[in-house]
Structure formats: structure tokens, C-alpha cells
């Protein structure tokens, strides 16, 4: 192995260096507030280095692989985490720094991101499993991070128990796949695997673990509770970064390894996708808490993503990656507004947003843009994302599914508009008073908004993704 091939792991190495520097900084620094800026600064450097071009190839006998698409996806994750850090900076300053545990926050979050890198770059099931666990365990600690709050602890225990059950089931599935093929390398498995009852059982168990991370419907029960109890920054991390990485590896495994199960996969995803969309949308209708509302909305969005995964060709891959990229910016804008309001006033219910436009017009506009993008209203990026997803599904002849998806978009528009009505049309004497956001929060919201507008309107991005969409 030469240095050149070792540098295929550049993103991971740089992130590891960032984590180690944070540990050293924690030991030697007296100024804990300075560490916050230090951590964000280091991560900005990491994000910028990530955008340098990289070769394709494999390391460690195929255990670790890197393609242009995976590299691009890691960059998307980087930008997402950067936005989350900027939006959480004020929360960290107020709540975490006084308890003197801010560095752990960054170390845990970066370790989880490192796990996601390894998960989406995995070339065999061992690497995949290690990445999956490395990405899930630190997040469980982060969910239970507010140790004095009861809800946070409850969310933490719910998350760790259901994550462990899901990954354990997934692992049992991998052991059955190993029994039928005798190897754990993706490429060799793909060459040997054939349709049999045992391998089918293994495949379905394996699917469970990923479906849990994407919160598809039979495995979605943890989502709303965890989002409500967790700190908002972590809730947005779960809904965007964790979900995006799981979608990517699910797509890779389904397309490259599980070829013989084409028909089973198609039928399974068909049902799961419909159930996910309907359950997510219908439950979102009755939510009052904004975090739970966004949780169910993110479940519904996962159902739409499955539409693209089902179409199973270059177009499908490109649209899914494109949609996830848009979804990162959109959801983070919405979560950012919720977080800034919750931090300033402690209010999280939809009714509390009554009359927000009169007091905080800028925040309301950001929220409106994000919700329109989630619903898929034309000028913003979300519309193009959904449009391409539906095109990819329709090109495979799944017209009924596309029709039902469009019905779901209409339902979703209703409840997104409920929030917009509360902000713009309702009046309230107890409206949230005007407040000014800190610089980090402003920066986080601005990047998210620029992302929403830019990705939708600048078409070469989609062309580029389509070009490199080979798994």
C-alpha cells in the first residue's frame, strides 16, 4: 500500500486529526469559550479541505472504497454538520459551557460523523457494521446530553435501546448472508449470492437495521419521541445527517450487492414507501409541538426518498443524492428557526408562533421558505428535488405510486400551511417579542437559505451529480 492510496481516506484522516486536536485543546486550555470557536474553526478547515478533488479507488483489500459520488456525499454531510454546529453554538455557550462539557459535545459529534464516513465508504459488512455502530452510539450519548432534563434521558434510553435492537437484528441478517455466501466482502457476495429462503431472510433482517436509521414506517416509533426529548441541534443531526448517510449506504447495498432480490426489494420498498408517506403525513397533522411536527414531516420525506431508490438506475441514484442534498439545507433551515426561538423564549408549540411575522419578519420568512421547500412549491429547491424523484419513479412505470405520492404532497402542504398561517395570519397578544440572533445562528440560517435557493436554481449541480452517479 502506497501513501497515495492511503490518502483516499483523506476526509477521515483530517476529521480524526480534528478530534485529536480537540482532545489536546481540552487538556491545555483554560478558556472553555475559546474552545467553541476553536472547534468550529477546525471544522470549517476540514470542510474546505474536503472540497479538494480526490481520486477513486479502494484501500485495505476492498474494505474501504471511495468514488466521486461518495466523496461528494461526504461533503454534503460536512456542510450539514457545519450548519448544525453554527446553529447550536449559542445553545452550547449558554447551556453546555457552564457545565464544562462542551468539548465532549464536539468530540462525540465528530466521532459520529467519522462513523458515517466509514459506513458509506464500506466495502464489506464488517466495515459497514463498525461504521453503523460508531455513528449510532455517540449520538445516543448526545441525545441524553442534558443530564438534568428528564425528557432528554428518556429520549436517550429510547434511542439506544431501539438502535441496539435494530443493529442486532441487522447483524443476525448479515450472519445468515455469510452462511449462504461464505464471504463478507460486498463484491464477492454480489458475485455468489443467489435467491434462496435463507438469504432472503438474511436480507430482510439486514434491511431492518437501515430502515431503523432512516425511520421507515414499521421502525419509526422512536423518531418523534427522540426528536422531542433531544437537544434541538441533535434532533436536526438525526433527521438530516444520520438519515442521509443511511440512505446512501442502503442504496449502495441494494444496487450492488442485493441484485438477485430485485423483485422482492421492489415490492417491499413499494409497500414501505407508501406506508411511510401516509403514516408520516397523517400523524404530522395532529402535532402541536414543532419538534414532533418536524419529526413526522421527516418520516414522510423518507417515504419520498424511497421512490427514487426504487427506480434503480443512474437517474434514480442521481435524484436521491440531489434530493438528500436539498433536504439537508431545507430541514436545517426549519430546525434552525425552531432552535433560535426555543433558545430565546423556550416556546416550541405551533400556537406560540402566532403573530410571529409582525415581531420577527426575517425568521418567519426563513421558516416559510423552508416549509415551502419541504412541501415542494415551485421556485425553491424542494420542488425540483420532488419533481426529479417523481420523474425517476414514473420512468419505471410506477404511475400509481407516483399518483399516491402526489396525494401525499397535497396532504403535507396542508399542515405546512398551518404553521405558515399561524405565523402570518393569526394575531396574538402574547406573540414572541422581537429578538436579535447571535452571529453564529445568523450565519447558520443564511447558509441554509442560500443552499435552498442556489441548489434549486443552479442546474449544473444536478448535471454534475448525474454524471458521477455510478455506484
Amino acid at each position: 500500500m502506497t501513501l497515495e492510496s492511503f490518502l483516499l481516506m483523506r476526509q477521515e484522516l483530517v476529521l480524526l486529526a480534528v478530534i485529536l486536536l480537540l482532545v489536546i485543546g481540552e487538556i491545555f486550555s483554560n478558556n472553555k469559550k475559546g474552545l467553541l470557536n476553536f472547534a468550529i474553526g477546525l471544522f470549517v478547515v476540514h470542510t474546505v479541505i474536503g472540497f479538494l478533488p480526490m481520486q477513486e479507488g479502494t484501500v485495505f483489500g476492498g474494505m474501504f472504497r471511495s468514488t466521486s459520488l461518495i466523496h461528494l456525499f461526504k461533503n454534503v454531510l460536512n456542510v450539514g454538520v457545519l450548519i448544525i454546529l453554527l446553529q447550536s453554538a449559542d445553545w452550547i455557550k449558554e447551556k453546555v459551557v457552564p457545565e464544562n462539557k462542551s468539548t465532549e459535545f464536539f468530540i462525540l459529534m465528530f466521532s459520529s460523523l467519522l462513523g458515517m464516513y466509514y459506513m458509506i465508504s464500506a466495502g464489506d459488512f464488517l466495515m459497514f457494521y463498525l461504521g453503523l455502530e460508531l455513528s449510532a452510539l455517540p449520538v445516543a450519548a448526545l441525545v441524553a446530553y442534558e443530564t438534568t432534563k428528564r425528557k432528554s434521558a428518556e429520549a436517550g434510553i429510547k434511542f439506544i435501546l431501539s438502535a441496539a435492537l435494530a443493529s442486532g437484528t441487522s447483524l443476525f441478517g448479515v450472519s445468515l448472508l455469510y452462511a449462504t455466501t461464505g464471504t463478507i466482502h460486498f463484491e464477492e457476495v454480489a458475485a455468489i449470492i443467489s435467491y434462496s429462503n435463507l438469504s432472503l431472510l438474511g436480507f430482510i433482517f439486514f434491511f431492518t437495521g437501515l430502515a431503523f436509521k432512516i425511520s421507515l414506517v414499521p421502525f419509526h416509533f422512536w423518531t418523534a419521541d427522540v426528536y422531542e426529548g433531544a437537544p434541538i441541534g441533535i434532533a436536526s443531526y438525526l433527521s438530516v445527517i444520520s438519515k442521509g448517510a443511511a440512505v446512501m449506504i442502503l442504496m449502495i447495498v441494494l444496487f450492488t450487492v442485493m441484485k438477485p432480490f430485485d423483485i422482492v426489494t421492489h415490492n417491499m420498498l413499494y409497500i414501505v414507501s407508501l406506508a411511510t408517506m401516509f403514516v408520516g403525513n397523517l400523524f404530522a397533522l395532529r402535532q402541536q409541538n414543532m419538534k414532533r411536527f418536524l419529526a413526522f414531516s421527516s418520516i414522510a420525506q423518507a417515504g419520498f426518498i424511497l421512490l427514487g431508490i426504487m427506480s434503480n438506475d443512474q437517474l434514480g441514484v442521481a435524484t436521491v443524492v440531489y434530493f438528500v442534498g436539498i433536504y439537508v439545507f431545507t430541514n436545517l433551515a426549519a430546525f434552525g428557526v425552531v432552535q433560535s426561538i426555543s433558545l430565546q423564549t423556550g416556546k416550541e408549540n405551533i400556537d406560540d408562533y402566532n403573530g410571529l411575522y409582525r415581531t420577527n419578519p426575517k425568521l418567519s420568512l426563513v421558516m416559510m421558505l423552508a416549509l415551502f421547500s419541504l412541501a415542494g412549491i415551485p421556485p425553491v429547491a424542494g420542488f425540483f428535488g420532488k419533481f426529479f424523484l417523481f420523474t425517476a419513479a414514473a420512468s419505471q412505470g410506477m404511475y400509481l405510486l407516483v399518483f399516491l405520492a402526489v396525494v401525499n404532497v397535497t396532504i403535507s402542504l396542508y399542515y405546512y400551511l398551518l404553521v405558515i398561517r399561524a405565523m402570518f395570519l393569526r394575531k396574538s397578544k402574547t406573540a414572541i417579542p422581537y429578538f436579535d440572533n447571535k452571529i453564529y445562528m445568523k450565519l447558520g440560517l443564511v447558509i441554509a437559505v442560500v443552499g435552498i435557493l442556489f441548489i434549486g436554481l443552479y442546474s449544473p449541480i444536478y448535471d454534475y451529480i448525474f454524471e458521477i452517479s455510478k455506484l
Partner: protein, 105 residues
Amino acid sequence: MINGISIYEILTITTIIFFIGVYGFLTRKNLITMLLSIELILNASAVNFVVINTYLFPENLQGVFFSIFIIAIAAAETALAVAIIINLYKLVTSVEVEDTETMKY
């Protein structure tokens, strides 16, 4: 390899252990016993890997290595879960599921 015992018996036992784990996780009302059920699931998979490796594919050691990693990760998982349970116990003074649950639907 054990003389006189074929792979069928061992795989039957691991599968039974796995489903005992799933059943226990779904029916138990105590957080610690739920954690024990998850350990059963993970151990069933670890034994599965070792057995399949030794009986069916003895020429290389992928399964055995996999099981070592499973044991390590199971330990990490348990440690973290117990830490969270202890913190929860400080706040609610109970490890029963019914006492801890406030968020629903």
C-alpha cells in the same frame, strides 16, 4: 468443530436464542432486562458467525474476526445504555418502562 454435533443443532439453538431476545425485548417492562435481551440477540449473532465459519468455511477466518468485533461493540453499547439508565434513575428513581415514559404519540 465438536464431534457428534452438526451445524444444524447449533444454528437451531442460536436462532432460538435470537428470538428469545426479540420476544424479551418486546414484552419486558424493565429497562435492565430489555438490555439483557439485546445482549442475547448480539450473542446469538456472534455464535452464528463462529459456527458458520468453523463448519462451512474453515479456509479463512472472516467470521471469527467479525465475532470479536461484535463482542467489543456489545460491551460499548451496554456501557452506554447502563450510563443512560443510571442517569434516568437519578431523575425518576425507577427503571420500569411505565414510570419513565412521558412522551407518547
